[in-house]
């Protein structure tokens, strides 16, 4: 049974692609899936940092493509999981032009033989780095935040994905600030989804502990009490085909939340 390759992209930088990749990957692994995360941001890698695997890298993606090592030698295993989560890090000393889309595509094909899910973390932009990232993908997740500039860029990237023959990109709206949205000062979830007219895979509310956990090298999704964590866990469950209702961002009272929490932490 071949696995599925999903590229995580956004066009705009700084919307949380890497955080989303780390957390969705970890959440899938928590659901007993074998997951490989691939960092294609050559030259500006940081998926390894967010996962806390920085100091265990020996080889990287460019080494594999240029034949300096075997694929499995470059995979960094996440010890928090038995055999569930691996990272193929990007090279830090090279740039996007070090590899071609065809080479990355072939590499992803190889990983799909072995893993249930291959998540590809894409660099910002629409140039070669993006082309490399989408080359082997079967599906795409577009990450955006409720800001007009990020939504514009998401629209551009969705148009490009549609031309790549990657059907039906899925949308993740990240860093939702409840207060702003309730006051109508930020774009709301409905507005963004209708504007981009693609399926909404999930929403993640803004949570300061995401930054703290990234700095510690522990994806927030490992902490079941965080609000952002629930968002990512829901996303993973939807990827696995479960139908999970959208988190209600407006009516969140402590009572409601503890109910939700008890649902997801059993």
């Amino acid at each position: 049974m071949m696995g599925e390759a999903i590229v995580i992209t956004s066009g705009k930088g700084g919307v949380g692609k890497t955080t989303a990749s780390a957390n969705i990957g970890t959440a899938l692994a928590l659901n007993d899936q074998r997951v490989c995360l691939v960092d294609t941001d050559i030259g500006l890698r940081n998926l390894d940092v967010v996962l806390g695997l920085e100091n265990r890298i020996i080889y990287d993606l460019v080494d594999v493509i240029e034949g300096r090592c075997k694929l499995h030698q470059a995979l960094v295993k996440d010890k928090r999981f038995e055999d569930g989560l691996y990272l193929l890090p990007a090279a830090q000393t090279r740039d996007k032009l070090a590899v071609s889309p065809e080479q990355v595509g072939a590499l992803i094909q190889e990983l799909k033989q072995e893993f249930d899910y291959v998540l590809i973390d894409s660099p910002a932009g629409i140039e070669q780095g993006y082309q490399n990232a989408v080359a082997g993908a079967d599906r795409a997740i577009v990450v955006t935040v409720p800001e007009i500039s990020a939504v514009r860029d998401a629209d551009r990237i969705i148009g490009m994905l549609e031309q790549e023959d990657i059907p039906h990109p899925m949308l993740v709206i990240n860093r939702i600030k409840r207060n702003l949205m309730a006051r109508g000062e930020a774009l709301d979830v409905n507005e963004i989804t209708t504007h981009l007219s693609i399926d909404l895979l999930g929403i993640v509310v803004d949570d300061e502990s995401v930054i703290a956990s990234s700095n510690k090298g522990e994806p927030i999704v490992l902490d079941p009490s965080s609000r952002a964590s629930i968002g990512y866990r829901n996303i993973a469950r939807r990827i696995l085909g479960e139908s999970v209702p959208l988190m209600n961002i407006e009516e969140e009272s402590p009572g409601f939340f503890s109910k939700l929490k008890s649902l997801f932490t059993k």
């Binding site: 514009r152 860029d153 629209d155 551009r156 969705i158 148009g159 490009m160 549609e162 504007h195 007219s197």
Partner: protein, 223 residues
């Protein structure tokens, strides 16, 4: 009687000179030359020339035209013929064709059409539609639209929800911002066309019916 290759007929719209299409072209030219020197009319008149089923290349038309230019009495208003080349016909059909597109025209995308285009979907900001004919949008126009891109000032832009950034018809451009004279009305279909003075205007459906009756192939009321 060689001159029977060339006959002149009067119609309600004026005189038409019919050129025989079964004789050779040389015969036709000499007949025409004789006709133009023999025929005398009171004053210089404009005529239409009908070539029948003979296909004439541009070169051949030029030879006919030369004869007319030498004549003191006739000038040609228009050449007509029952035949055209396949290529010309294909190009004409292309222009008349209405293309359809289903989907969203997204940021950075440009959708182009030879003739009219119907878009079932939205044009998002920074997306653009360019057509040589009319543009009809069954959705929201939030980006840019250019109708009559080859210069047809009669072209129109219609959208079920008008919220554009740029509107262009032929070579008239309107930036739709707070300085624009175009008034946007939410929740109703809007039609954009050029007035006779070249100014762009946005109006309701009923105004389009009056301004561009040629757009309709069905007129009148229905039961």
């Amino acid at each position: 009687m060689p001159t029977k290759h060339v006959t002149m007929k009067g119609t309600r719209d004026g005189l038409i000179i019919h050129l025989n299409d079964s004789c050779t072209f040389e015969q036709l030219l000499s007949s025409l030359e004789r006709f133009l020197t023999d025929e005398r009319v009171a004053e210089k008149i404009e005529v239409d020339v009908h070539l029948g089923y003979r296909y004439c290349s541009e070169e051949m038309i030029k030879q006919i035209e030369t004869l007319f230019q030498q004549s003191a009495y006739f000038t040609v208003r228009e050449y007509d013929s029952f035949v055209v080349t396949k290529e010309l016909c294909r190009r004409e059909v292309e222009k008349l064709k209405t293309e359809q597109y289903i989907g969203i025209v997204r940021s950075g995308q440009v959708l182009q059409a030879e003739g009219d285009i119907v878009i079932i979907g939205d044009i998002n900001p920074n997306g653009k539609v360019v057509a040589n004919g009319n543009i009809f949008i069954l959705g929201q126009l939030k980006g840019a639209a250019h109708a009559g891109a080859a210069g047809d000032v009669k072209s129109v832009i219609v959208a079920s929800h008008m919220d554009p950034t740029h509107l262009m018809i032929a070579d008239v451009t309107e930036l739709v911002n707070e300085d624009s004279s175009l008034l946007l009305h939410a929740n109703r279909m809007e039609c954009v066309h050029l007035l006779d003075n070249g100014q762009m205007t946005m109006s309701e459906l009923k105004d389009l019916r009056l301004a561009r009756p040629d757009l309709m192939t069905r007129i009148g009321g229905f039961q």
